[in-house]
């Protein structure tokens, strides 16, 4: 193919096909002082895409709190890093792979894992854990089951092979994600606190290497594609194919290379491949870079500079070495059997200059590509009416036991073993608490401290009330870290939203990020890395706004690790937090109404902080035997999970209502008490001798608290003075909880299993 000439690109507006608007193209022409050629237009189109430039979100992201004594590296690098103590840094980041996963679920998910893995070891960190956050439609549809099964297989396929355990995650099933599933992958690594490597191309004359896989024609324009509506209309060829074996070798080789100290800068070739890695590395050094594209190892003959620059072939890195240390890199990559090629050098003229067959095929200012990418202040408009508020309360209520069974069997609540038994959760032999805990807990070499990890989001709350929902997502993640025995340190996030060109979507984004900021400040968990995924919509239906929080915390000592299952009979069960009976935003009401209903649950940030501080303190005082917070499905589900996990019953006394309630009012009150999702509540298992101390400490901290029952027996019983709301064998609930996903996925049952 003959590449169009610069004039033709302008006259026929060919740039539009690459995703550039007329205004953006005109801006490029004005800044360059000439028409960009085909290759240059391609460079701008990917770096100025929403995916790479964050042009719609940047002004909001700047408002996140990003500082704190624990922050070693905030946003702007390949991953954030926090100080874990004892000279250890924890690098972590989360990234979305929603659009590729909608088209090609196995490879979409696998390459999401591979990409985030490279972001972590690029920092010089040894990856030690994966987490993931998933959203799909409802499992009654065959296509959704296909997407779900293959995304899970893809995550496992990559993670298992590279030998890094997948230790925690979440999965939510709601019809709004039917055509646009969310696949967010998080990776966590450890590094010496003073041994961080950055993605910087500095030192004029230093050589630039491309290492790892050869460059092919796959994934060209993947970044642009991720920034477009309705990926179903796009081509599958824009989805890359991962090779985890290659990824594993690349990780080992890069970590070995970094350990030599001869690496100046290193960066993953993710979205926009060679273009973004070279331009961003030059930009961070305020310098330039010159590449000789004839030297790039390619998979097939006849690849053009345009194709090489825009390819998103997986498992590649760009490395800037100290001049004179070329042989060090070459020897290490030869040992691992990986291609390595010296393709360019660092300059100081601030330009990205590309050479091919003796000709200069592109010559543009780095700052124009990276730093001067357009920033949009997109129109923001609150919707005329907030959703959910008009939904009427149900007139009749299912029996509480029936409702509890239904919630426990809801795929969003049910046991996720069907998912995580497909992940290697114990490789590296450091998993202290794996999937199923409120947070995962890992041992970390070289310290007695343990690492607590979780990820959480709740699109339904954010949809009903973006500001409150955004804050609640951060609070829930922190609560989970605290329940596991930890102190929250910092967060990463994936902000999954609809089309930013719609003012009501930008309203959701602006409000949700503001809510997140408030919670991050209150809980002292700055944002150190993150990712924005817009255009999560299909056929004009936007997903629920779904910020997903990935949180890292520290557990000071093994003895503070706290389970989320009842441990012993005849222990007291103490509920910290209000005994709420509002159904606002609950899964219970949503299931009955067929849509999210009411406001998001009532939430008070100050109360949340008090609660978390109290539980953190009680755990350190050794007064908490087990702990589990109230979330999806309400208090009844929390109690059921504590019972199922512990293989033990509980008898709980609910407060009697007023005697003069009508039957319907009484049903509503029971439903509210059992299924309200009011946050900032934690159930504690406490030894009888510690109850008075726990209640006194709660009173002192201003946290409502009541001993609601006793562990023991084999039934989950919730009763008032006049009736039993729930009285059911735990074994029955366990079966509903454990069978829900396997039954829906109709997996062949293994003999005897």
């Amino acid at each position: 193919m003959v590449e169009p000439k610069a004039e033709q690109i302008r006259n026929e507006r060919l740039y539009r096909g690459m995703g550039l608007t007329d205004a953006e193209y005109d801006c490029i022409v004005a800044q360059l002082g000439r028409l960009p050629n085909w290759v240059e237009t391609g460079l701008f189109s990917v770096l100025w895409s929403e995916h790479c430039s964050y042009k719609s979100s940047r002004r909001y992201l700047k408002r996140f709190p990003t500082n704190g004594p624990q922050v070693l590296q905030g946003p702007g690098e390949n991953a954030g890093v926090v100080d874990f103590g004892d000279g250890i840094g924890i690098a972590f980041k989360m990234e979305s792979h929603n659009h590729p996963s909608a088209i090609e679920p196995y490879q979409g998910a696998a390459t999401g894992v591979g990409g985030i893995l490279r972001d972590i070891f690029t920092m010089g960190a040894r990856p030690i854990a994966f987490l993931n956050s998933l959203r799909f439609g409802t499992l009654d549809e065959a296509h959704t089951r296909y997407l779900f099964a293959n995304v899970v297989a893809g995550i496992g396929g990559y993670g298992n092979c590279v030998g890094i355990p997948t230790v925690a995650g979440e999965a939510v099933f709601d019809e709004v994600y039917r055509d646009n599933p969310l696949v967010n992958a998080m990776c966590v690594g450890v590094l010496p606190a003073d041994g961080m490597v950055r993605g910087t191309a500095s030192g004029v004359g230093n050589p630039v290497f491309v290492v790892g896989a050869r460059t092919g024609r796959d994934g060209i324009h993947g970044a642009t594609f991720a920034s477009a509506e309705d990926p179903h209309e796009k081509e599958r060829s824009a989805v890359q194919v991962g090779d985890p074996f290659f990824g594993k070798l690349l990780m080992e080789a890069c970590l070995e290379l970094i350990a030599t100290g001869a690496v100046v800068g290193i960066q993953d070739m993710g979205a926009a491949g060679l273009t973004s890695s070279s331009a961003e590395m030059a930009s961070r050094a305020d310098g330039g870079i010159e590449l000789y594209l004839d030297a790039v190892p390619v998979r097939e003959d006849g690849m053009t500079p345009y194709e090489m620059m825009l390819s998103e072939s997986q498992e590649r890195m760009l490395v800037v070495m100290e001049r004179g240390k070329e042989a060090v890199a070459e020897a290490i990559f030869a040992k691992w059997g990986l291609p390595i090629a010296n393709i360019g050098r660092v300059t100081d003229d601030g330009r990205l200059r590309l050479w091919f067959r003796g000709e200069c095929v592109a010559d543009v200012p780095v700052s124009l590509l990276v730093d001067e990418a357009p920033v949009y202040d997109r129109p923001v408009a609150a919707p005329a009416a907030l959703p959910g508020r008009e939904v009427a309360l149900p007139e009749t209520f299912p029996a509480p036991e029936t409702a509890l069974r239904e919630l426990l069997g809801h795929p969003s609540v049910a046991d996720k073993r069907w998912i995580y038994r497909q992940y290697d959760t114990t490789v590296k032999a450091a998993t202290r608490v794996g999937p199923g805990g409120d947070a995962a807990v890992l041992r970390v070499p070289g310290t007695n401290r343990l690492l607590a990890l979780c990820c959480d989001g709740n699109g339904r709350y954010v949809y009903l009330n973006p500001r409150k929902g955004g804050a609640m997502a951060v609070a829930e993640a922190a609560r989970n870290i605290v329940c596991a025995g930890g102190q929250p340190l910092a967060i990463t996030n994936c902000l999954n939203f609809g089309n930013p060109e719609k003012p009501e979507i930008m309203y959701q984004f602006a409000e949700a990020t503001a809510g997140m900021s408030e919670a991050c400040l209150a809980l002292n968990t700055p944002v150190v890395s993150g990712n924005v995924s817009f255009y999560n919509e299909s056929r004009s239906a936007d997903i629920h706004p779904t910020p997903v929080i990935g949180m890292v915390g520290v557990i000071e000592d093994e003895r503070y690790v706290t389970p989320n299952a009842f441990q012993q009979a005849d222990h007291a069960v103490v509920l910290l937090g209000v005994e709420d009976d509002s159904l606002d935003g609950s899964l219970y009401w949503k299931t009955l109404a067929g849509q999210p209903a009411g406001d998001a649950p009532a939430f008070d940030l100050a109360a949340e902080v008090n609660l978390q501080n109290l539980v953190h303190r009680l755990i350190r005082e050794g007064r908490v035997v087990s702990a589990h917070d109230v979330s999806d499905g309400g208090l009844a589900v929390t109690l059921a999970e504590l019972c199922i996990g512990g293989g033990m019953g509980v008898v709980v006394e609910a407060p009697a209502g007023a005697a003069d309630l009508s039957a319907s009012q009484a049903s509503l009150r029971a439903a509210g008490w059992l299924f309200s999702e009011a946050p900032s509540r934690i159930c504690l298992e406490v030894r009888p001798t510690d109850v008075a101390e726990v209640l006194a400490a709660a009173a002192e901290a201003g946290v409502p608290a009541r001993q609601i029952g006793w562990t023991g027996g084999s039934r989950l019983v919730v009763r008032t003075t006049c009736e039993d709301w729930v009285n059911v064998p735990v074994a029955e609930l366990a079966q509903v909880y454990q069978d829900a996903l396997p039954n829906r996925m109709q997996v062949p049952v293994t003999p005897g299993a």
């Binding site: 297989a153 496992g156 396929g157 298992n160 092979c161 590279v162 030998g163 090779d243 985890p244 074996f245 290659f246 594993k248 070798l249 691992w336 059997g337 995580y420 038994r421 497909q422 992940y423 290697d424 959760t425 114990t426 490789v427 590296k428 032999a429 998993t431 202290r432 041992r443 093994e558 997996v747 062949p748 293994t750 003999p751 005897g752 299993a753």
Partner: protein
Amino acid sequence: MKWAVVVFPGSNCDDDAVQAVQSFGDEVHKVWHQERDLSLYDAIILPGGFSYGDYLRCGAIARFSPVMQGVREAAAEGKLVIGICNGFQVLTESGLLPGALLRNDHLQFRCELVDLTVHNVNTPFTAAYTEGQTVKIPIAHGEGRYVADEETLRTLERERRIVFTYRRNPNGSALDIAGILNERGNVLGMMPHPERAVADWMGSADGRALFASMRRCAKEAIHVG
């Protein structure tokens, strides 16, 4: 006692095996797949992972790697060789153990703590267990379904070379087989990961007895076979 943990490109349980052995205070070295000489070592571990990406078939390429010459020689000398997970696959592909390991019957990867029965405690790998003991050891594999022809299975049974079986078969293995010995009794292949069950915090420490058995055997310089 000196242990070798073989590292193929794509091995990923090598560090775990090293740690497990070190927890006994023993000396252990990682040996890169391009080395041939394993004569310095008393026992050899082929760890789990995805050697050479498990392309073609699991373990199929690893069998050609230079280090396997050293493994064969060590086995021939009666030294202890244990292949765990991918290591088991490498041993069957190399012909050091009979049979083959195929895709799990449910076609999914499966990672969980499983119950195993120990069948023969008169082996260098199981002497510290008790006959018929149930032990908890995790599995993590997609291709762990042991198959062999009828005659081989009968021979394995008759010669008491089926050392571990699953209490609840997780993958469709013939005769619930989780681990088998070679004829001489000095080469063990098993799909479960004893190196991930060497401390209570891991959920089980039942794997310790396996390493303890091997140490006892090697220290007493018992020549196997």
